[in-house]
């Protein structure tokens, strides 16, 4: 059953919030990575790099879902 305009709007808003949260997580991870590098902790730096990469992947999903909603 196709989504109503109201439901689409709610979904878009949820995706927007999710993407903002991912952006915030990613930037906090950047900051933590900087601190890890300053303390020569390569393993933590590497783990934070993975978190950032996963944030980008999640964000790509929210963006493609958002685009689908715009098209549909």
């Amino acid at each position: 059953m196709p989504l109503s305009e109201s439901e689409k709007g709610q979904l878009k808003e949820a995706l927007h919030k999710m993407n903002n949260a991912l952006n915030s997580i990613s930037m906090q991870a950047e900051l933590a990575k900087m601190y890890a590098e300053q303390n020569n902790n390569a393993m933590i730096g590497e783990a934070l790099g993975i978190i950032m990469s996963q944030c980008r992947q999640c964000s790509a999903i929210t963006q493609s879902t958002h685009a689908l909603l715009l098209e549909g």
């Binding site: 915030s24 930037m27 906090q28 900087m34 963006q63 685009a67």
Partner: protein
């Protein structure tokens, strides 16, 4: 966010790119505080606010070198803060849309970032904002203008000014303009303006077979696919610290558009079949004669890549809009042919008037070919006093049905059309492909097929 979070640093010199004064506008305090700390660690002076009203107040009170602004703010759009006389701006958004990007790039926007951001993106954007800083050495127009970039029209002067401003940066540039306007010369001039010994590597995206695009651009490791007998360094690596000129970017296959976008966003690439991230140190200049906005709306070009390339757009005007440049160009080409072939070196006034009154749909390329044909036609004379027949009418091949008859197969009609067009352009395959609206690769494929049929 209830007010401005000031920087704890003293105000810095706006001319020092290492200490840019930045206003970050976003209502997500977790994001802004982390970004502020990260950029301060890079010696930048960052203040943060969360609304349009707070940002407007901060901009009235203080001078900033640049503005990082979220499009979606609690009390309005971040676009309201971007003014022609304001600081350079970087747009941050969760979801790109054409409308916002187009509106934005018309202002003082130097970059367009899609969340989630990373530190390297932010740093590159700050560097982009240095484009028109007074401390930046802008080369003289004469120093960067290639000898064959002829013209004194207002459009040409504006173009040269853009080249002088944008050239000495490493910002991605998209050159748009009709076929034959000299976009490749503009790209070369932008590279020359960097005053670097590094390479300028042009590549025609439409001329690379689809299956080899990734390997050509990014290289491949030995054995990564059938035929990859040895490691190959791609164009991006070969252009280390220089410029990659992606001509006919609109022809890049969609899957490779994704890869190119990733390279632009991360500043690194991976060879086909490889795992190691290789830093991308070349600057990208792309060009197209297509309406990319239309291509995006038709799903033929990725929206996010379009935004990435539109950071600094340069439009090359068609010849018909370059008042006064036709005689300069015509004389330049005529003198060039006179030196090479001993043909006449001057036009009669009547011929020059005729050249000036034509609208040149094929632009400089068409003018150049017409001058060459005229020079040969008038060989042995003092002046060029006659032009080739029908030079100012639609090409014969366009409306001539000779050679076509009812009952012909589509394949034969296509072959006839290609051969006639090729003949019209004196065997020039690039012009032929452009006129037919097909890629150079398609043209080569067809010609190979005809050759095989003939054999």
């Amino acid at each position: 966010m209830t007010g401005i979070t000031p920087s704890r640093r003293p105000a810095t010199s706006p001319t020092n790119i290492n200490m840019a004064r930045i206003l970050l506008v976003d209502d997500d305090t977790d994001f802004t505080s982390a970004t502020q700390t990260l950029l301060r660690a890079e010696q930048h002076d960052v203040s943060t606010v969360g609304t349009v009203a707070e940002a407007s107040g901060a901009l009235r009170r203080e001078a900033f070198d640049m503005l990082f602004v979220d499009l979606s703010l609690p009390d309005g759009s971040g676009l309201e803060l971007i003014k022609d006389d304001g600081p350079k701006a970087v747009i941050i958004t969760g979801h790109p849309s054409i409308e916002s990007a187009i509106r934005a790039v018309r202002g003082r926007v130097v970059d367009y970032l899609v969340k989630p951001l990373d530190k390297n993106q932010l740093i590159r954007s700050i560097e982009s904002a240095a484009v028109d800083k007074p401390s930046r050495r802008i080369p003289s127009i004469d120093a960067i203008r290639p000898a064959n970039m002829i013209g004194e029209s207002a459009a040409m002067k504006s173009l040269i000014k853009s080249i002088a401003e944008y050239g000495p940066t490493d910002v991605t540039i998209l050159i748009t303009g009709e076929s034959g306007t000299g976009k490749d010369l503009v790209a070369q001039a932008l590279h020359n303006a960097c005053n670097t010994d590094a390479k300028f590597v042009p590549v025609n995206c439409g001329a690379i077979p689809r299956e080899l695009v990734a390997s050509e651009l990014f290289g491949h490791e030995k054995g990564s696919f059938t035929g990859a007998g040895a490691k190959r360094v791609g164009i991006f690596e070969r252009a280390r610290n220089g410029t990659v000129f992606l001509d006919e970017i609109g022809e890049l296959p969609l899957d490779q558009q994704v890869t190119l976008l990733r390279v632009l966003e991360t500043g690194s690439m991976v060879r086909v079949g490889g795992e190691k991230e290789i830093p991308m140190t070349a600057r990208i200049i792309a060009a197209t004669n297509k309406d990319l906005e239309k291509e995006v709306s038709e799903g033929k070009f990725r929206e996010d890549l379009f935004f990435r390339l539109m950071v600094l757009p340069i439009h090359v005007a068609p010849l018909r809009e370059r008042e006064g440049d036709i005689p300069l160009l015509a004389n330049y080409f005529l003198e060039m042919y006179a030196r090479e072939h001993g043909t006449p070196s001057q036009f009669s006034p009547r011929v020059l008037t005729k050249l000036e009154s034509y609208h040149w749909p094929g632009n400089i390329r068409e003018l150049k070919h017409t001058v060459l044909r005229a020079a040969i036609l008038n060989r042995g004379k003092d002046k060029v006093d006659a032009l080739p027949d029908n030079f100012d009418r639609p090409p014969k091949w366009a409306d001539d049905a000779q050679g076509l008859r009812a009952g012909m197969s589509i394949k034969d009609v296509e072959k006839t059309l290609i051969e006639k067009t090729l003949e019209h352009f004196d065997g020039n395959k690039k012009l032929t492909a452009e006129a037919l609206g097909i890629s150079l690769k398609t043209l080569y494929n067809r010609l190979c097929e005809y050759e095989e049929d003939r054999v």
